[in-house]
Amino acid sequence: MPFIPHTPQDVETMLATIGVSGIDDLFSEIPANIRCEPPKLLPPLNEMEISRLMTQRAALDGGKLGFLGAGAYEHHIPAAVWQITTRGEYYSSYTPYQAEASQGTLQVLYEFQSMISGLTAMEVANASLYDGASGTAEAVLMAVRCSRKKANRIAIPTTVNPVTIATIRALVSQQGIELIEMLCTEEDGRVDTETLAQYNDEDITAIIIPQPNFFGQLEDVDIITDWAHSVGALVIGMVNPMALGILKPPGEWGSQGADIACGEGQPLGIPLSSGGPYFGFLACQKKWLRQLPGRIVGRTQDRSGKRGFVLTMQTREQHIRRSKATSNICTNQGLMTVAATIYMAIMGPKGLANVAYACHENSRQLLDVLTAIPGVERLHKGHFFHEFVLKLELPVKDVLQELLDRGIVGGLALAENYLLVCATETKTKEDIDSYGAVLADIMGRSES
């Protein structure tokens, strides 16, 4: 019996101790008419068989030369990260309710909070949420709780990832929150700081500022932040944590800094994995601490004064506050934060900055190579981090299919002729040139 240690003799002894004659008796309280037969599932496989099956399936997937970003990014992950993260003691423990027997996880989370706080330049951080998109929805709910305004109106620029917007909509619409679209400039693909005054009277509770934004462009975060604060709106900085290796952190945006910082943690040591598990991070200024959802770890001491760590501020949480909790989140993405913490510790400030630079450099190089091809040009002006939008003279869908047939995942189709492209530090000059050569070939063939 896979994973069940009992011998028939054990079972017999145990049944006798309980005082029943068979296992069926243990289920006597289930009404007879809702009892069922064992489910009809695919036939069971032993470990050797399932290993072979999954190995075959995995061999069908992935492994392409990829230039896709759009919210999830391929980065080098030091081998140490996952070899340590998957150690049984991290992997198979629960949320650290018994602090004294969970100091490993607790200290890692404390270090994680410290690193996220440092990276975002915010005063406090929680110990993770599900992912970047749902975490941004939590940031919205939090902003609404923090604000004294009656109307709950959240300004969201169209430069925010549309899936993130949809997720926010799905998760917060029941709270009477209104999402207000803020248009961006066509030329720049970013929030038009000239026209911010249009929203002065909209009674905005908070604004989400993406940096870099969905198109890879860098927003004028200082101006937008100061404007938002001038109209009494809170600022939610939605950031790529890898970019923060070099970019100005939300805590330093404008004259006061953002109020809340959130984002997708995946770039920090988490594999692409077809979309998950990743993790969301959330940080804020200390004054909003009691509105921060999710687990929080604090440092304390034992009776002899020895340092230790515990889950704290639990009166915000659902298991204590129930329907009045700051969030319903319980299980979060714990193990991902272990990986991210180890990743950040290995990379350090210099490593993170160098990777961020390399991403930027590579994407600039890619831009040069691709826009040298006739029929390919960049859509926007202005600065970008490691993604940009191309305008192609051919239908993007067809181009992507041809690229794929030649082993290249070319980017994300945004519209008929627009293509969002990314190059991280993982791309070599040869990779970039090979994308260029293949694309040139595709574009050229259509010319003739």
């Binding site: 009992h6 101790t17 064992p38 099956l53 200290q107 890692v108 899936v163 298991h319 319980c330």
Partner: protein
């Protein structure tokens, strides 16, 4: 020992691991305005120090891989190591979520089969795998109930009924979905109090959230009646699947009559808890809620006699409550669940419930025989059960918390304590099916030994833990009050 320090205490300015980052070839072209003035204050430590630090820290955790972990409601069973290796195969790890489905047929086939198998195990008509954990599954389920009512023009159903014994996520979710929460009482045998239920239902009732077996460790015997009462007034029934491990292959929420459920795959399907996640909380629904399932969902079609798979979302699913996260859910966790399920098969799923229940009832019988007080002595335990240590607290002033801390010294993780709140000095014990009789016997011995200590030397127990068998000198009982009063939530150079 490095693990006794915080990683920042190892930091030396200027140190870096050049093997992990390309050296920049030139200066950055971005204007200063966009850039950070000072580098992020991350620790500057060598790779060896990182490995040493986090390896040592890991040794300061109890875990299923190292200890018996009878944490009630959490189903801390063995997480097969093979699930980890197979979910981390390079093909799965390297694929970008937005790649075309052509590059993900292996994954999609797997997810599709998982959807089908979870539907079969739970008796539901449709499944979406996307929720990230139980609580998000609850959100999806309750949102679907809301969407269903709204779709019927039934917009005045503003109340969600929740038993008082329910897990905190239930009322929190109902509130998040915009419902007013109404609590329903429990009777003295742990069943839902039908009188309160009848009194509570009405045209304002959107639905009832039920955990069965409940968090009291007993099966809701009148579940059909409960369901009938709610359905009668037009409400829908939500099943919290956290305790599914108790019934797989014995009964199914779908057969009981539930409309929506979530499944904590990190409980019943043995994916790891990872010190707090990630898990996954697939939702299952009855036929009438299928149009509302969250996206994306995997669908299957035949193409030249080959099965092909693709995602359903957006335009294909106009009534869906939408997407709950940036991509497709916790794929890596779902892969682990699939491997587990495939290794067990249908008979295996029944064996899970059978032996989880056997272990709980055996432990219950032994602890009862040893003189401990059971919360619901007239009931059969499900896969877990509740002791009340009120007699011990009254007689020796040694509380459930003290017992819990002292168990750590004996090398056992503590059961869940003070939940559910209904039972005073309660201890919710869930051994799971993967523990041996020998381990259960040793646990009983420890409980008895602690009670003896409580009688002979209560301060020993009240001062616990004293000598947790952990690396790097464990800590003693930690001061949680100080932690909350003066929050120290990040490292500041002292």
């Amino acid at each position: 020992m490095s693990g006794d320090r915080v990683i920042f205490e190892e930091s030396v300015p200027g140190r870096s691991n050049s093997q992990h980052a390309p050296t920049p070839t030139g200066a950055c072209d971005l204007p200063q305005d966009f850039l950070r003035a000072v580098p992020p204050p991350l620790p500057e430590v060598s790779e060896l120090e990182v490995v040493r630090h986090y390896t040592q820290l890991s040794q300061k955790n109890f875990s299923v891989d190292t200890q018996f972990y009878p944490l009630g409601s959490c189903t801390m069973k063995y997480n097969p190591r093979v699930c980890n290796s197979l979910a981390m195969l390079p093909g799965f790890l390297s694929r970008h979520p937005l790649e075309p489905v052509e590059t993900g047929q292996g994954l999609l086939a797997t997810l599709y089969e998982l959807q089908e198998m979870l539907a079969e195990v739970s008796g539901m008509a449709g499944v979406s795998l996307t929720p990230m954990a139980g609580a998000q599954g609850e959100f999806a389920g309750i949102e679907m109930i809301r969407a269903y009512h709204h779709n019927n023009g039934d917009v005045d159903r503003v109340e969600m009924l929740v038993p008082d014994a329910a897990h905190g996520t239930n009322p929190a979710t109902a509130a998040l979905c915009g419902f007013r929460v109404r609590e329903i009482a429990t009777d003295e045998n742990g069943d839902l109090d039908l009188a309160s239920l009848k009194e509570a239902v009405g045209p304002q009732t959107a639905g009832l959230m039920l955990t069965n077996p409940s968090t009291l460790g007993v099966f809701e015997r009148r579940v059909e009646e409960v369901i009938a009462i709610v359905h009668e007034v037009g409400g829908l029934l939500y099943y919290d699947g956290a305790n599914l491990n108790a019934i797989t292959g014995r009964t199914r929420p779908g057969d009981m009559g539930f409309d929506a459920i979530h499944i904590n795959v990190h409980k019943t399907f043995s994916t790891p808890h990872g010190g707090g996640g990630p898990g996954a909380g697939p939702v299952g629904v009855s036929e009438r809620l299928k149009p509302f399932l969250p996206t994306p969902i995997v669908t299957c079609y035949d193409s030249e006699d080959i099965k092909k798979y693709r995602w359903l979302s957006g335009i294909n699913t106009p009534h869906s409550i939408g997407q709950l996260s940036g991509f497709m859910g916790n794929i890596g966790v779902l892969l682990r669940a699939y491997v587990y399920l495939r290794m067990l098969g249908g008979q295996g799923m029944r064996r899970v419930a059978d032996h989880a229940t056997l272990n709980a009832n055996y432990l219950l019988a032994k602890l009862t025989a040893a003189g401990f007080t059971v919360a619901f002595p007239n009931r059969r335990a499900s896969h877990e059960f509740i002791l009340t240590l009120k007699p011990e607290a009254d007689n020796y002033s040694v509380t459930a918390l003290d017992f819990a801390k002292r168990l750590l010294d004996y090398g056992f993780y503590a059961p869940t304590i003070y939940f559910p709140m209904l039972v005073p000095e309660c201890m919710l014990i869930e051994p799971t099916e993967t523990e041996s009789k020998g381990e259960l016997d040793r646990f009983v011995d420890a409980m008895v030994a602690i009670r003896n200590e409580a009688i002979e030397d209560p301060r020993l127990v009240k001062g616990a833990p004293h000598n947790i068998p952990l690396s790097g000198a464990g800590v003693g009982r930690l001061d949680e009050t100080q932690a909350a009063r003066k929050p120290d939530l990040k490292w500041n150079e002292e």
